[in-house]
């Protein structure tokens, strides 16, 4: 008989980056890399588990921006080209490394992986959402939603109508793509402010996830700490707190698994390492060196990097999965004795940790799931929905304002480098309120313009822009995106009010910022 639950949550998100106006756009690579290195490897792991009839549970949030990009025809076409180019490069690498056996075998495995990625991509009709939907329909994965464009809620608190729009647009988008309503939501960056649960409840969302202190610093004191969910006072929306011990084992740079010396080194990519003339066709057309995804070295632990050995790395991933499971068993046994109740251990991770950053992550997950299914009886994998179904009685508290970002609150998104944006973001949100009030019922061109205004507003609100500005590197794109969307909104606002909508220009930005085709601007209220 098991003594507790393990709930793994993978948060999948990328900001909406789609530039039909440019043939080649550097930041679009974020998506292509994520597809090749994270989403397809995860899909392959899940397929194999289903094929082998291994029972498992996983919770995944897919942000509406990520989903929109995965479903977008232009980006699909571009990914197809991207992966074909990688396959071509891998072929050349197999040839080039003929006299270096340890590299050639790696080049061959990259070639195989890229071909497999292309085949998988085509198999699902180029729309990977089809894959995730099938895993959800098979009852193995619970997909939850996220805010429409990953707006950071604590710094939108003065714009409740924008919060509502972020949630409602996300829910409608989820429903259309996945054929059901989302049970839960991943609050962007786990940013929660007491009272926002009301907005979630309005949209029929039953639970969300916070960082540990969101629950632990709640009022009154949560009896079971983060090891049982709580209901928000006044709304009954459930809140699950993150367990830091299990998170740390995977995240931490010091103790975490991904730092093992036998794992693949992220920073040694042939895009940077090889002769310029040779690699030029596979990097950015402007000649800027970028990651290609072909990496031959392991972390090693010193500057003298050694060649990567996938067999040793795979054994390591198996050992780390065993270690993780063992630690969870011990944790659950201890907590079960202590709490006299089955503890819930919820471990959320950024999905891109698996594969993109931690190359062996998908294998680790595969081993972990299989080990849990066959090698032990203490823990059971569960989704938050199942937990609530089986354990409906939970304490009622008011969780605390919190996020899972740097220092646990809002400083990452509110500091000298990015605080200037809120003046504009809030103003545009207030202006959107005005528009909705003045034009409560419209059609034709005005309606199109109003819908586009909301799209621009939502796109400007992505927490990613503030985050990138906060990190201080490569900020120009984030600054430009923030300004572009706000400026487009302001012009729409003027044109709508002046009854002088420029149809040609509107069509142009509708084509560029084509997210949420079915949006209804009236959700912003």
């Amino acid at each position: 008989m098991h003594k507790g639950y393990l709930c793994l949550v993978l948060h999948g998100h990328l900001p909406f980056v789609r530039h039909p106006e440019h043939e080649d756009f550097l930041e679009e690579d974020w998506l292509y890399e994520a597809i090749t290195e994270t989403y397809i490897p995860l899909i392959l792991v899940f397929e194999k588990l289903l094929h082998d009839k291994v029972d498992f549970r996983l919770t995944m949030s897919l942000s509406p921006t990520l989903m929109s990009m995965l479903m977008d025809g232009l980006l699909q076409e571009r990914y197809s080209k991207h992966i074909s180019r990688l396959i071509e490069l891998a072929h050349k690498e197999v040839e080039r490394t003929r006299w270096q056996h340890e590299f050639q075998s790696l080049a061959i495995s990259y070639l195989n992986n890229f071909c497999l990625a292309r085949d998988t991509f085509e198999k699902y009709g180029r729309n990977l959402i089809n894959a995730f939907r099938s895993f959800q329909d098979a009852g193995k994965i619970e997909i939850i939603t996220c805010a429409a464009t990953h707006g950071y809620f604590p710094l939108m608190d003065v714009c409740r109508s924008s919060l509502r729009a972020q949630v409602k647009v996300a829910v409608a988008h989820y429903e259309k793509a996945l054929g059901r309503k989302p049970a839960g939501i991943w609050l962007p960056e786990c940013g929660y402010v007491p009272g926002h649960d009301e907005i979630l409840r309005e949209s029929g969302i039953r639970y969300f996830i916070t960082d540990s202190h969101g629950v632990l610093h709640g009022t009154p004191r949560p009896k079971y700490g983060v090891f049982a969910p709580v209901y928000c006072k006044g709304t009954g929306v459930a809140c699950f707190g993150r367990d830091l011990e299990s998170s740390k084992q995977v995240w931490s740079s010091i103790e975490g698994y991904p730092g093992d010396y036998f794992y693949r080194e992220f920073y040694r990519d042939i895009g940077f390492d090889l002769d310029y003339e040779y690699i030029k066709p596979y990097i950015h057309p402007d000649g800027v060196r970028i990651n290609t995804g072909i990496k031959y070295y392991r972390i090693t632990g010193s500057e003298d990097k050694q060649p990567y050995n996938p067999h040793i790395a795979r054994d390591k991933a198996a050992a780390h999965a065993g270690n993780f499971m063992f630690n969870r068993e011990k944790q659950v046994e201890y907590l079960f004795d202590f709490m006299k109740k089955k503890p819930m251990i919820l471990s959320p991770y950024d999905a891109e940790l698996f594969g993109h950053w931690w190359y062996e992550g998908p294998s680790w997950l595969d081993f972990l799931i299989r080990k849990i299914a066959f090698d032990q009886k203490t823990i059971r994998m569960i989704t938050p929905s199942e937990y609530l179904y089986e354990n409906p009685r939970n304490q009622v508290i008011t969780p605390s304002l919190s996020s899972w970002g740097w220092k646990g609150y809002s400083e990452m998104w509110l500091q000298g480098a990015n605080d200037w944006i809120y003046r504009h973001l809030h103003e545009t949100s207030f202006k959107m309120n005005e528009l909705v009030k003045s034009f409560s019922n419209t059609d034709g061109l005005a309606r199109r313009a109003l819908n586009q205004a909301l799209r621009e507003l939502l796109l400007a609100q992505s927490s990613d822009w503030a985050f990138i500005m906060g990190t201080g590197t490569h900020i120009s794109y984030a600054v430009k995106r923030t300004k572009d969307h706000i400026l487009r909104f302001l012009r729409l606002y003027e044109d709508i009010n002046g009854n002088s909508i420029d149809q040609e220009w509107l069509s142009d930005i509708e084509n560029k910022d084509n997210i949420f085709p079915d949006i209804d601007y009236r959700v912003h209220q």
Partner: protein, 350 residues
């Protein structure tokens, strides 16, 4: 709102009419700001000067060929630019003509507020306060309004922060977590009077530790809670909560940066450069190339290679230390002839 729109529409109509009657830019400029840029651009296009009037008034200053150029320009002028495409501004507005003060929570201790004051409001204040206005200090008054409905007078306490003359935002050390705050941006007059210009919204900072409030129905002994709390922070059973927090802050510094969506790849070249001070890497590659009949078959080290349509070929190999014997064998299409050429390459690194 609808009235305003109607007036705007009417104005527009008038402008259009004006244009038809007298196309001189001057009327258009005064009639509506909106049509001004378009009209201006026409006059600039034709005369290269600011207004028609100026040019007409000072005909002697005309530059040689100017008339010809403008006539020429006018000839190719298609009339489409009457509604010249509006150029998108590149910069955001500095202000939005509002009286506003927005307060946000950064963490349990720190608040951030930004504000904006309309020019008209400044003018009114100058008018009302006369000379006092110039002697007044710009101040943020921070009110502790925990658990009350603040009416401007009933705060538990308040403190003032003297701020820079031209500041439009400020980080405030509130000095108390788990409390509610409201901030006035205003003027402190020499006689001690405080004039509120804009009042902020009210925010509540989170508490920085577990709550003291317990729930009768869900009681837990203090010591047991402390253990759960310590575990929640991932530090095992015995760690004191205070330490846990310190550790957490340190750890979060890392994971916050790692939570980046796709940023790891963007950051890579930068990180690489930072980690190493001086470094050098040398690698060698070998290019093997040649040509034969386009329909011949060529083997390099016993593996068939692909020829270009013109019969040339070129291969590139990473060249490790040691000796490489590279037999290149060409066989004619009719299988009657064969050539073998074997370069031998030795790399030695010292």
């Amino acid at each position: 709102m609808t009235i305003i729109r109607r007036i705007k529409a009417k104005l527009k109509e008038m402008v259009e009419k004006n244009k038809k009657i007298s196309p001189t830019p001057k009327t258009a400029v005064t009639a509506s700001r909106k049509t001004a840029p378009a009209t201006k651009s026409i006059s600039e296009r034709i005369f290269g000067r600011k207004t028609t009037k100026q040019v007409q008034e000072r005909p002697k200053q005309e530059f040689l060929g100017e008339t010809e150029v403008s006539v020429g320009k006018a000839k190719f002028y298609t009339g489409q630019v009457v509604r010249a495409p509006r150029v998108m501004p590149q910069e955001l507005p500095y202000q939005y003509d509002r009286d506003r003060n927005i307060l946000q929570v950064r963490d349990p201790w720190w608040l951030h507020c930004y504000w904006e004051v309309r020019t008209a409001t400044w003018e009114r204040l100058k008018y009302e306060l006369k000379d006092d206005f110039y002697r007044a200090q710009k101040v943020l008054r921070v009110y502790d309004v925990t658990s009350i409905i603040f009416d401007g007078t009933n705060a538990h306490r308040f403190f003032d922060i003297q701020i820079n003359e031209h500041a439009t935002n400020w980080y405030i050390d509130s000095g108390g977590s788990g409390r509610s705050w409201c901030v006035d941006y205003g003027l402190l007059l020499p006689d001690g009077r405080f004039i509120t210009i804009v009042r902020s919204n009210t925010v509540t900072t989170p508490i920085e530790g577990p709550s003291w409030i317990t729930d009768e129905e869900w009681m837990i002994p203090e010591e047991m809670f402390a253990r759960l709390y310590g575990m929640g922070f991932g530090l095992g059973r015995s760690s004191p909560v205070g330490k846990a927090w310190q550790e957490r802050v340190r750890r979060q510094l890392y994971s916050g940066a790692m939570a980046s969506p796709g940023l790891a790849s963007m950051a890579s070249p930068v990180k690489k450069a930072k980690e190493r001070k001086f470094w050098m890497v040398v690698n060698t590659e070998l290019i093997l190339y040649g040509a034969t009949e386009p329909d011949a078959t060529v083997y390099v080290q016993d593996r068939e290679i692909k020829l270009r349509p013109d019969g040339t070929f070129s291969l590139r190999f990473a060249l490790p230390d040691g000796k490489q014997v590279i037999p290149v064998k060409g066989i004619s299409a009719d299988r009657q002839e064969e050539r073998v050429i074997t370069p031998i390459v030795t790399r030695e690194t010292k």
